[in-house]
């Protein structure tokens, strides 16, 4: 048994395979010094979590069962420590203009209290990172980047912001991020002792507002990476443990489950959300990965514009969703074939815990991207038929 393969790109200190798809080994920075610890590390250890090296951070993979954690988010609620994510503040009268130049979308015109998904492109129009930008003040934005791309993102944004009236501040080490996701998440936040917030019930998806937790300023976004209703709370690292404990108390009667990065990956996959290093990388343009909507070509000048408008070559791979029958899932790096010829590669895949059948993202030749096209996934030597289906794989019922 064991010597588990492919998706197991990292090993934790015990030599146990650490099943995390979000590895930075392929495209990101390989961190060799000692692992960073989350401000919530002691809590995770007390809960008995299994840990993994995620972009240089020692983060929980799961606390007990990743399936139970997955189902908790779909049916009740889960609490995640995402303190490894990078928080970059842009402050000053030129912050909006700097972001418009630095990123693919138009950020300067989003109203206070809104969030927007955007891309950091290179000169060739390929994707260096995907990010969420919150407008937190008239002259202040919070840019949240992937942990594995933190230094790439900070460096690129700093460079691009030069000449604009704005300061770029990397607060990643001093800001913790806690996500509470799932149908009960509002009810839980509404009952956290010490969380003072107005207008949470009315807060729409991809909106954010300022609040306080026991006197400390926090930012709450109605955002997430699970496909469920949920919130992400940015809080000073020094206050994160107290918040987690208070949330746990409020969640006791509301089905709240501590959730690790393993279930976060299957949740986002079901929800059709890309993961950097898998569905997105610095060789892919937005149009190949269904992300053209994040690029605003009405802007005259931004980094990557020429590369995007140059388009892609005729045979350039495109991202599709695949569904199979049975239980055998394609996984990252498995070949996608048609009549025995390799026509693409799986970028992420799993037996969907919610749907009960295997699902996968794959980059395939454009001739095979049409909905309903049947291909094969080479699952360790066995051809498993898969059908191109629309994304997302899973969608929650619209909130009432």
């Amino acid at each position: 048994m064991c010597n588990s393969r492919e998706t197991l790109r990292h090993r934790n200190r015990g030599g146990v395979p650490s099943p995390i798809a979000g590895s930075v080994s392929t495209f990101g920075v390989l961190v060799t010094e000692s692992l960073k610890l989350s401000p919530l590390d002691a809590i995770h250890r007390a809960l008995g979590a299994l840990f993994t090296d995620f972009a240089g951070w020692d983060m929980p993979v799961r606390y007990s069962s990743d399936l139970a954690e997955h189902h908790a988010v779909r049916t009740a609620a889960g609490i995640f420590d995402l303190s490894h994510m990078a928080e970059i503040y842009m402050v000053g009268p030129g912050a909006g203009a700097a972001l418009d130049f630095a990123l693919s979308g138009t950020l300067s015109n989003i109203p206070l209290g809104r969030a927007k998904y955007s891309l950091l492109l290179n000169d060739e129009g390929c994707i260096l990172d995907d990010l969420v930008v919150y407008r937190t003040g008239d002259e202040e934005f919070l840019v949240v980047a992937n942990a594995g791309n933190r230094f790439v993102a900070v460096e690129a944004i700093r460079e691009r912001a030069r000449g604009f009236e704005c300061v770029v501040r990397d607060d990643s080490d001093s800001v913790a991020l806690v996500a509470i996701q799932g149908p009960n998440s509002f009810d839980i936040l509404d009952n956290i002792d010490g969380l003072e917030v107005d207008g949470l019930a009315e807060l729409g998806y991809y909106r954010c507002l300022s609040a306080t937790f026991r006197g400390t300023a926090v930012l709450i976004g109605r955002t997430g990476y699970t496909g469920e209703d949920g919130f992400e709370l940015y809080i000073p690292a020094t206050d994160a443990a107290e918040f987690w404990r208070a949330a746990t108390v409020a969640g006791e009667t509301r089905g709240l489950q501590a959730c690790g990065l393993a279930c976060r990956d299957t949740l986002r996959l079901e929800a059709g959300m890309p993961l950097y290093g898998h569905e997105l990388n610095s060789f892919l343009k937005p149009v190949q990965v269904n992300a053209a909507r994040a690029v605003d070509l009405t802007k005259d000048n931004f980094v990557g514009r020429d590369g995007v408008t140059a388009g892609v070559s005729a045979g350039a791979a495109v991202l599709v969703g695949l569904r199979s029958d049975g239980k055998r899932a394609g996984r990252a790096d498995y070949a996608v074939q048609s009549n025995g010829r390799t026509i693409g590669t799986v970028t992420s895949g799993a037996l969907s815990p919610t749907l009960g059948y295997p699902i996968a993202f794959a980059l395939v030749e454009p001739d095979f991207a049409k909905l309903g096209t049947v291909v094969d996934i080479d699952v360790r030597g066995t051809a498993i038929p898969a059908t191109v289906v629309s994304l997302p794989f899973y969608s929650r019922k619209a909130r009432a």
Binding site: M1, C2, N3, S4, R5, E6, T7, L8, G14, G15, V16, P17, P19, I20, A21, L50, V61, R62, S65, D66, L67, A68, H70, A262, D265, T266, K327, R328, A329, R331, A350, L351, P353, R380
Partner: protein, 123 residues
Amino acid sequence: MSIPAELQYTSEHEWVRIDGDLAVVGITQYAADALGDIVFVDLPKVGKAITAGSVVGEAESTKSVGELFAPVSGDIVEANQSVVDSPELVNSDPYGTGWLFSVRVSSLGDLISADAYAALIAE
């Protein structure tokens, strides 16, 4: 971490219960915990001749795949249909109802004691 003293083990995190010329095989709790929730097992067919050290099946969790190696040489007597139908048994009862297959043994592979296995995973 449960490592029953009466069983023998392999460095591939499998356990073997020898009774005469019959060997019952499963994966250890350590391996099951490391894989996470097991959602699919692929077991060798009854009657198949297996050679110690060769790959004879797979155990998949949502996030990873583990190969099953033959810990002994011989012929497959039985494959546990209960774990095919309910792979979670491997997590909940790895040394009991979560057993994987049994073998009519012709020769043993490299098996180690419970103490040696405990030392191995403590490394």
